[in-house]
């Protein structure tokens, strides 16, 4: 019986070839095999959002998907978004707005935020979108609703919204 599978995907632009136990989540592959520990393990059940990464341009919970299911995919983690000295605007805005306390949920919050702005641009509706037939706008209510899959136990929510609104160039 073969309980391992070979898989190749790109993480932050670099090709990664792995042969791993089929049970390995994408989250564990990133952290334990590729040593990219910026992506955090919180609940490991898709409830907290700490493991949010961007796969093929979309944010997902890395804990609820198998690494072997991502052959050929482009995966973007917090390390790939920006590094000290050349931060992504969202990373800088989180610092400027004091949008974290302990910081554990922050990589997931930032990856999620970056993808949320793309989702609004692509006119994906949300639960609070008033008119389904019009272009969705960046509002605090939209950000709050779309970020509900990212929990912050320190309660930095209002500053997180400020940071996302700042990057979007939207008035608070």
């Amino acid at each position: 019986m073969f309980h391992k599978t070979a898989v190749s995907f790109k993480v932050n632009g670099e090709v990664c070839d792995l042969e791993i136990d089929n049970r390995t989540s994408l989250l564990d592959a990133l952290r334990e095999h590729l040593h990219l520990t910026g992506t955090k393990k919180g609940c490991d059940h898709g409830q907290c959002g700490a493991c949010t990464v961007i796969v093929e341009g979309r944010r997902i919970n890395a804990c609820l998907t198998l690494a072997v299911m991502h052959g050929g995919d482009e995966i973007l983690t917090i390390e790939g978004l920006g590094q000290p000295g050349h931060l992504h605007p969202m990373q800088q805005a989180f610092i400027d707005c004091d949008a974290f306390q302990c910081g554990y949920c922050t990589p997931g919050q930032i990856c999620s935020s970056v993808a949320v702005l793309e989702e609004i641009k692509a006119n994906v509706p949300s639960h609070v979108t008033q008119d389904l037939t019009e272009q969705t706008a960046v509002t605090a209510a939209e950000i709050r609703e779309r970020m509900s899959g990212n929990i912050c136990r320190c309660g930095a929510y209002s500053n997180i919204i400020d940071a996302v609104m700042e990057v979007a160039g939207a008035p608070l």
Partner: protein, 316 residues
């Protein structure tokens, strides 16, 4: 998580063929519910068939003016589709009221229908549960049952089906298209797709082992006002205590389906004939056989009030 072998399916035929020959094989698409349950060893497949590479991710107009939604269309894409937003607003609204943005990006149309209950006793391997371990008993009956079913329940199980999408599909009279291991195809009306628990709550749908959902079909648009109202403990990212999906026509007639109350989307056509008389009359018929627990009796009032609010919205 138990060990399993893994393959990427090359075609629908190959996928159903493999599944039919292995009673412990499962298909995996988005995987957001299946992997969660595998971590808890509530689901223990020994072989996973990854169907993500099969296409089946298009939304096409049908000859009669309806829509054919591929089984692998992600919840995000279905909610954002222009035709769905314009003609089946109820479906878009139901989809975006469920889960989180991250989960909707992964979750598929077929997988959403096949997700399992979020009954906390089902999720706790230390507790008896007839759905997880047939014959072990139901911990919710006589336990904490505030979130549980009020109608169509049995002495074996009072769990609810958690899907918001399925409530919309129920009111819209969707059809589920499948293919079996022997290649036979069938179309299952959404109202017949999920089962009531009876004495076998571990069997949740009419699908046979290895039967594969290829698409969900929507009939031509109904027009009318489309509203999905979900009542929950948090404003976002929570399952429904109750939810009501309606399509209401200018003359006050219409359709409604209720979520969070039963083992399947709860739609009673004879109750819809009462809609023009108001929520009280319609709910009285739809829930005439209800058997709530002391802890979830409130759901009957909540359904009536939610339906009344929705009817009011539809007039506005």
């Amino acid at each position: 998580m138990r060990a399993f072998t893994y393959e990427r399916a090359s075609s629908v035929e190959a996928a159903v063929g493999t599944a039919a020959s292995n009673p412990h094989a499962k298909f995996i698409a988005g995987g957001t519910n299946l992997l969660d349950l595998m971590k808890l060893e509530i689901e223990t497949p020994t072989h996973l068939i990854d169907v993500n590479g099969l296409g089946l991710d298009g939304i096409e107009e049908t000859a009669d003016g309806g829509l054919r939604i591929g089984a692998l269309v992600r919840n995000t894409d279905l909610a954002a589709n222009d035709r769905v937003r314009r003609d089946y607003g109820l479906l878009s609204r139901a989809l975006v009221s469920g889960a989180s943005g991250q989960l909707r990006n992964k979750a598929t149309t077929a997988g959403n229908l096949l997700q399992r209950t979020r009954c906390p006793y089902f999720y706790d391997p230390m507790q008896p549960c007839n759905k997880r371990n047939p014959g072990s008993g139901c911990s919710a009956i006589g336990g904490f049952s505030r979130q549980h079913g009020v109608i169509g329940t049995s002495d074996a199980c009072i769990a609810t089906h958690p899907s918001d999408m399925a409530i919309a599909l129920s009111a819209l009279e969707a059809t589920v298209e499948t293919v079996k291991g022997d290649g036979a195809r069938r179309s299952i009306p959404i109202g017949d797709f999920h089962r009531l628990p009876g004495d076998s709550p571990h069997i949740e749908t009419v699908l046979e082992h290895g039967e594969f959902i290829t698409a969900v079909l929507l009939p031509p648009p109904l027009g009318g006002k489309h509203i999905y109202r979900k009542v929950r403990d948090r404003a976002s990212y929570a399952f429904a205590l109750v939810s009501v999906g309606v399509v209401i026509q200018p003359d006050g007639s219409g359709r409604f389906a209720v979520g969070g109350v039963a083992h399947k989307p709860w739609r009673v056509e004879t109750a819809e004939a009462e809609l023009h008389k108001g929520a009280k009359a319609a709910v009285a018929v739809a829930f005439s056989d209800s058997r709530p627990t002391d802890q979830n009796r409130y759901k009957l009032d909540l359904v009536e009030r939610t339906l009344a609010a929705v009817i009011e919205d539809a007039r506005g």
